[in-house]
Structures are given as C-alpha cells and as structure tokens.
C-alpha cells in the first residue's frame, strides 16, 4: 500500500514483437517470469506455432526492402539501435540484473558490451563485401566478381543464459548483411528481449526485420526448423544434443543453413563466423570485348 508520499509504479506489460507491432500471443497464453531470486517480475506472452508463422511472414515481407537497402544505410540503422539502447541503459541494466541475478554494476557492464556490439556490427555493413567478396581472375576475357548477399529469413533460438548480450550477439550479425530475423528469446529471462524489441520499434529498423518471440525454444523451435520459408537457423539456444539433432534433421527439408549449438563466451570478440554464416555468395560473369 503506497503512502501519500510514495508513488505506485506503473508496471509494464510484456508482449511479443512481430512485424513492428506488439501483439499478445494469439493463443492467449502467458507464463510467469521470476527474477533470478524467485521474485515475480511479469507475465510474458508464450508464443505459439501461429505466432511463429506470423513472425516468419512478417520477416519474409520485410526481407526485400531490407536487403535492398544500401550497406551504408543498414550500418546507420544498426548504429541507431545502439543510440536508442544507450538512452534506455538503466532499464536494460535493471532487467539484466533481475533476470541474470547479477549485481547492478555487473549488469551495467553487460549492457555496455551489448551496446558496443551493435556499434561493432554496424561498422561491418559496408565492409563485408570488401572483405568477403572477390574479383576473380578467370582464364578468359570475362569480368568475374563475387559478392556476399543475405540468405533470407533467419530463425534464431537465442541463448538461454545471456538474456541481452547473447541475444544481441546472435541477431546483429544476421541483420547487418540484410537478413531478417525471427528470434525466440531466453525462456526464463525474456524481459531484456522485449525491451530490445521496443528499441527496434523506436529506432529506424523497419517492422518485420527483427521479430522477437518469448516462450519456449523447444516448443516453437520445431515449427521454425521445419518452416519452408525459413532459410537458416541458429540452434544456440538448444542445449540438449538430441533436440538440436532433431531440429537439424527438420531443417534439412528445405536445406536450411544450420548453425549448431556450441560453447560460447558472449563477452569475447565475435569474429566473422556468425556474419558469414548467413551469407550467400553470388558470382557474376560478363564478357569483355569491344
């Protein structure tokens, strides 16, 4: 009971982030999210199969516009994400602290690293083609060059432990090259993910480029793995070997590019491997002559 001098806080309703909007799960389901210490934090939406499919539709719809943007523009948009996150630093720190049971100062450091990671990936947008592409000296009168391109819709089963830095580290490398993403957040620690969705909605990221589902990766994962309009899947949020194998088998139906789960240190420099995982390489030949 608040006293006259104590203000009652306005609590936040946490919803999904799909196609630039914040719907509840169409299933009507939600689940209890507790802090690392077991205190009630919120009821989060529990995404269903239909939510996953809606998110894929939104991601596919956004793909053509997003990957057709200039690399310069995509870099600006990613940097803008970092800018907007910086303004919500406190909120992220609190949520990461509650979710992961970290001291507020440690949580702040995690948020710092997360924001810096967006900045790092933002800078890659207009350098990928120079580092990954090539001009090919073929033995004949042809101009022949190879350029990286986005592979399409990427499903991401985000890390379960690292609620913000892990999520950032798996979404940023996919979208910087022009892919669109459907991400399933950490089940037990979903709150920073939804706040990240709010950042997306209020920065310059077109609706549908990033879609965030809260809920169970084990439940939603199979629908994404077997979805014929998903081009790649990151299984890092599936620690069970048997489950990961089953998802990889389902992913083979349309020959999705699969990233298998592996031990990862999210605070370490990421290198190029996640960036190049979701790229196709297009080689163009043209005769030379007068």
């Amino acid at each position: 009971m608040p006293t006259d001098t104590q203000r009652l806080e306005v609590r936040k309703t946490y919803k999904l982030y799909v196609g630039g909007a914040f719907p509840r799960s169409e299933s009507g389901r939600s689940y209890v999210v507790n802090s690392a210490k077991g205190k009630f934090l919120a009821n989060a939406s529990q995404a269903s199969r239909k939510d996953a499919r809606d998110a894929v539709v939104a991601a596919r719809k956004a793909f053509n516009g997003w990957h057709a943007r200039t690399a310069y523009n995509r870099g600006q948009v990613l940097y803008r994400i970092a800018e907007v996150m910086e303004g919500r630093h406190q909120q992220f720190s609190l949520e990461v602290s509650q979710s992961e049971g970290l001291s507020i100062s440690k949580a702040r450091a995690v948020v710092d690293t997360s924001i810096d990671r967006w900045v790092w990936y933002a800078g890659w947008a207009d350098k990928l083609a120079q580092v990954v592409g090539s001009s090919n000296p073929v033995a004949g009168p042809y101009f022949d060059f190879s350029l990286p391109e986005a592979t399409g819709v990427v499903a991401v089963l985000a890390p379960q432990d690292s609620s913000l830095l892990g999520l950032t580290s798996v979404i940023a490398p996919a979208i910087v090259s022009g892919n669109t993403v459907v991400a399933v957040s950490s089940f037990e620690r979903p709150l920073p993910a939804i706040t990240l969705g709010e950042v997306m909605a209020t920065s310059d990221v077109p609706g549908g480029v990033v879609n965030i589902l809260t809920g169970s990766a084990s439940e939603v994962g199979p629908w994404l793995a077997s979805h014929m309009d998903v081009n790649a899947i990151d299984l890092c949020g599936i620690p069970s070997e048997d489950e990961a194998r089953d998802l990889e088998i389902a992913a083979a139906d349309n020959l999705k590019r699969v990233r298998r789960p592996a031990e990862e240190d999210w605070s370490a420099d990421q290198g190029l491997s996640r960036l190049t995982q979701y790229l196709e390489l297009k080689t163009v030949w043209h005769p030379i002559g007068v």
Binding site: S134, N136, E248, D253, N254, L255, G271, E280, L281, P287
Partner: protein, 478 residues
C-alpha cells in the same frame, strides 16, 4: 537449310588402355574389394562393357577412412605447405601430359562429346590442381584467420555428369588445405577416377592421402556416415543432398552440398541475337543438359519471342547427335538407361500437361542411350517441366513482358544455383544480377567455369561454394 555433310572424324581410342577389372584404391594400392559385389561400367553410346569395377562395402570404406586418417596424422597434416603444393603441381602436370588419354576415357565412360572432354573438362581439371596448388603454402592469407586448420578426413561423393572435373573440384582444395580424402565416384562413371589413382601413384603421393572407393548409393552412404569422417562434400541431386544433411545432423561434421538447379536464362528484346541463340544452345545442350546449372528455363521477352524461337529451332536443326568420340559431335549419349527413362518420363508429362514438344529431325544411333535436343513451348510456371530438374537436353520456354516479371518468374523456384541474362544494356544486367536469387549469374554468356571463380547455390541448390578462395575456405576449420 540443308545440313552440311561432314566426314566422320573419330578420335582414336587406342590411346586408352582400359583394364578388364579394377580394385579399390586404398592406401596407395589397388586392392580387391572385401565385401561388395563387382559391377560393370558401360559406354552409354554403345552399351559395350568397358570394365568390371569393385563395389566397396562398409568394411572397405572403413579401411579407406583409416588409411586417410593415418596419412592425415602422420604425413599430410604435418607436411610443410610448400611440399603439399609441389605434389599438387606434379598432379596438375601429369594430368596435362595425359590429357588426351583422359579425355578419350571420359567420353567413353560418360558419353559426352570428345570436343567437350578435350576442350573443357580436362583442361579445367588441370587448372584446378594448378590453382589450389598455389594455395597450399599460403593458407594464412586465405582470409580465414592466421592459423586455419584442415578438418581432417574428407569424405567426398561426386556425380556422373563431369566425373573428372568434379573430382578435381573436390580433391584439389581438400589436399591444398591439408585434408586427406576418400572419394566415391559415380557408379556409371568410375574410370577416370581410377586413372587419377594411377596419377597419384606416378606423382609418388604418399599412400592414403587420396583413396578412391567405387560403388553406388550404399557405398556413398557408408562413407558419409563413417564416424571418423570430419568433412563431407557432395555434389548431386537435391534428394540425396537432403538425406545427407539429415544423416550428419547432430554430428560435428562440416558439410558442403552442391545440388540441383532449374536455371532461368532470360532474353531481353535488345539482346545480341546471334550470341544469344548460341548461349541458349550452350546453356541447355552442353553436356546433353547433364548440368546442374543448365539454363533449362528459357524466359523470352514477348516482343522477340517469335524471332528467338524460329532462330533457336533453326540452330537446333544443325546440332549433330551421335558418337561421342567423333570430333563433329555436339550432343553425345545420355549417361545411363535410368537417366534416359527419367528424361522420357518427364518429357511425356510435359506433353500430357499441355506443353508443345518439338525436336529437329534427327537420326539416333541404334544402340546406346539417346535423346534428341528438345524444346517445349506453351509452358506455364505450374508445369512440372518448368519446376523439376530434368537433367537432359530438354528446354522449357516461357515468356515475360517487363524486367520485374522476368525476375519474379526466374526466382519462382526452390532452387537457386544459376541464371543467365541476355541484353545489350549494362545497367539492366547489373540490376537483374542484383535481383536474381542465384549463386552464379552469367550475363551475355553461359556455363563458364574457372578454378578462381566461386560456384554454388542459394536455397535448395545447396550450401557452400566450390572454386576460388571460398572453395578453399570450405576445407578449413576456422
């Protein structure tokens, strides 16, 4: 126009010494197969039996993988890059020295025209070994970090359409990166791979670095599923690629797959017409259409449809179908009875679904497996001949009005291996190349290959690239 008469110009097959039977090539030696039943390989142009070949069973595959592992651990892995390079250069030179023999052998076993095996396949095979030889001592410059490492033992399964070229695409980068290999050639075209085994012996390549196991699907499966194989590379059908992707799920094997295609070859009204007609013919009738990146869907702008079709048919009437060893031959034999049956079945379905079928008058040899160059008009996107890979000399023609419509139709397929664009307008070429969801785009040319040029597909055409720096990357852990 009446056909020019040419005197026959047969290439002598005396240059090739085919043994009556071949064992498996394991640990540097030809050995008898332990647990498989031998099979025969025939010339598809005459059905003549060329040789009897061993079938490797699981125990043989295991022996080959062990030999490869030992060679990787003891010899090839620790060897200095410059020495690996020298072995690959040796192999490249030996291939050049024996080029004529290899071309004849390839045409005999595969059915492809000698003109193609002599002028395209074998020169490219040598070029691949030269190209990757130079990488062996420069791996730290390949752009994958300063200490890239080979995966270990590579299990490689290749198809029958370019038997020796696919071998080169697989073996050259694998060895350059420091891997050892067990390779399974296709059951209908094993002979040039076995000749390559002799070349490895002539090069004094350390035993076990290259192992060749012959056999069919069962042998390939045993190889792909062998627990001590670290890297799987496959070229072939999408159905088998899918099965391989499933079978390696949950393992830590690295995989590259180069699978089927249904390429759109797009002709605009301002295209240089003579080159375009040649490009269409090359796109679909090269190697009897047994090409995963073949331009099997011709998209013609409506305004030039009549002219393109008339000239295409006139050109098709001059194509010479027949003896692969005749230097005048344009279109050789279909590789196998089974493939011929598949081409016939899909062509019949094309007719049944209402498309109009046309072939020039052409006399096919009495023996062997033959199919005339064929074009289907009145094809809609829903027709199976416009959607499924036929892997034969069968072209489906569709039309479009605007560039946007061409893009939409071209991309309306689960495949994404290659595409062609024919137009005089440079800005349109670049715009189209941007829009097309395909791994290789040929503008005003088609079916060009080069070891420095990455090749591979989007979507269900598979993953990974072969050729170039990117092809090397597929054989390095990083």
């Amino acid at each position: 126009m009446s056909r020019f008469e040419y005197a026959p110009a047969p290439e002598s097959r005396a240059i090739v010494d085919i043994k009556s039977s071949y064992g498996l090539f394991i640990n540097g030696q030809f050995t008898d197969a332990g647990d498989g039943k031998p099979f025969k390989t025939v010339s598809p142009a005459s059905e003549e039996v060329l040789a009897e070949v061993s079938e490797a069973g699981p125990a043989d595959v295991d022996k080959a993988v062990r030999a490869a592992r030992k060679a990787f651990d003891k010899v090839w892995g620790p060897m200095a890059g410059r020495d690996r390079a020298k072995y690959l250069f040796r192999i490249a030179r030996l291939i050049q020295e024996r080029a004529r023999e290899l071309a004849v052998l390839e045409s005999l076993d595969n059915g492809k025209p000698i003109r193609e095996s002599r002028d395209v396949d074998i020169p490219l095979v040598a070029a691949h070994f030269f190209y990757y030889a130079g990488w062996a001592d420069k791996l730290e410059y390949a752009g994958v970090g300063d200490d890239p490492q080979p995966w270990g033992v590579a299990g490689q399964v290749i198809p029958w359409n370019f038997p020796m070229l696919m071998l080169a695409w697989k073996i050259a980068p694998a060895l350059a990166a420091g891997n050892t290999v067990v390779l399974k050639p296709a059951e209908t075209t094993p002979l040039t791979a076995l000749a390559f085994a002799e070349i490895c012996q002539q090069a004094d390549l350390p035993p076990g670095v290259v192992n060749i196991v012959t056999g069919a699907g069962r042998t390939g499966q045993a190889l792909v599923e062998h627990p001590d194989v670290n890297k799987v590379a496959f070229t072939g059908s999408t159905a088998v690629g899918r099965a391989i992707a499933k079978s390696v799920a949950g393992t830590d094997k690295a995989v590259t797959l180069e699978l089927g295609g249904k390429a759109a070859n797009i002709v605009f009204e301002d295209a240089p017409i003579d080159q375009t007609i040649e490009g269409i013919v090359n796109g679909i009738f090269f190697n009897q259409g047994h090409v995963c990146c073949a331009g099997s869907r011709l998209l013609v702008q409506e305004s030039v449809y009549d002219e393109v079709l008339a000239r295409l048919k006139r050109r098709m009437a001059t194509l010479r179908v027949g003896d692969p060893l005749d230097k005048n031959t344009d279109i050789g034999a279909i590789n196998s009875a089974a493939q011929l049956a598949k081409i016939r079945e899909l062509s019949q379905i094309g007719e049944d679904e209402g498309a109009e079928r046309w072939s020039p008058e052409c006399e096919l040899p009495a023996n062997g497996f033959w199919f005339p160059p064929t074009v289907f008009t009145g094809v809609s996107q829903a027709h199976r001949i416009a959607r499924e890979e036929i892997f034969g000399p069968v072209l489906s023609v569709l039309t479009f009005r605007t560039p946007a419509e061409a893009v939409e139709k071209a991309n309306n397929t689960p495949f994404g291996l290659s595409a062609g664009i024919w137009t005089d307008k440079g800005s349109r070429i670049l715009w189209m190349a941007n829009q097309l969801r395909a791994g290789v785009v040929w503008a005003n040319t088609f079916n060009r290959f080069d070891p420095t040029s990455p090749f591979g597909g989007y979507k269900e055409s598979g993953y990974g690239r072969e050729g170039g720096r990117h092809g090397l990357e597929a054989y390095l852990a990083h």
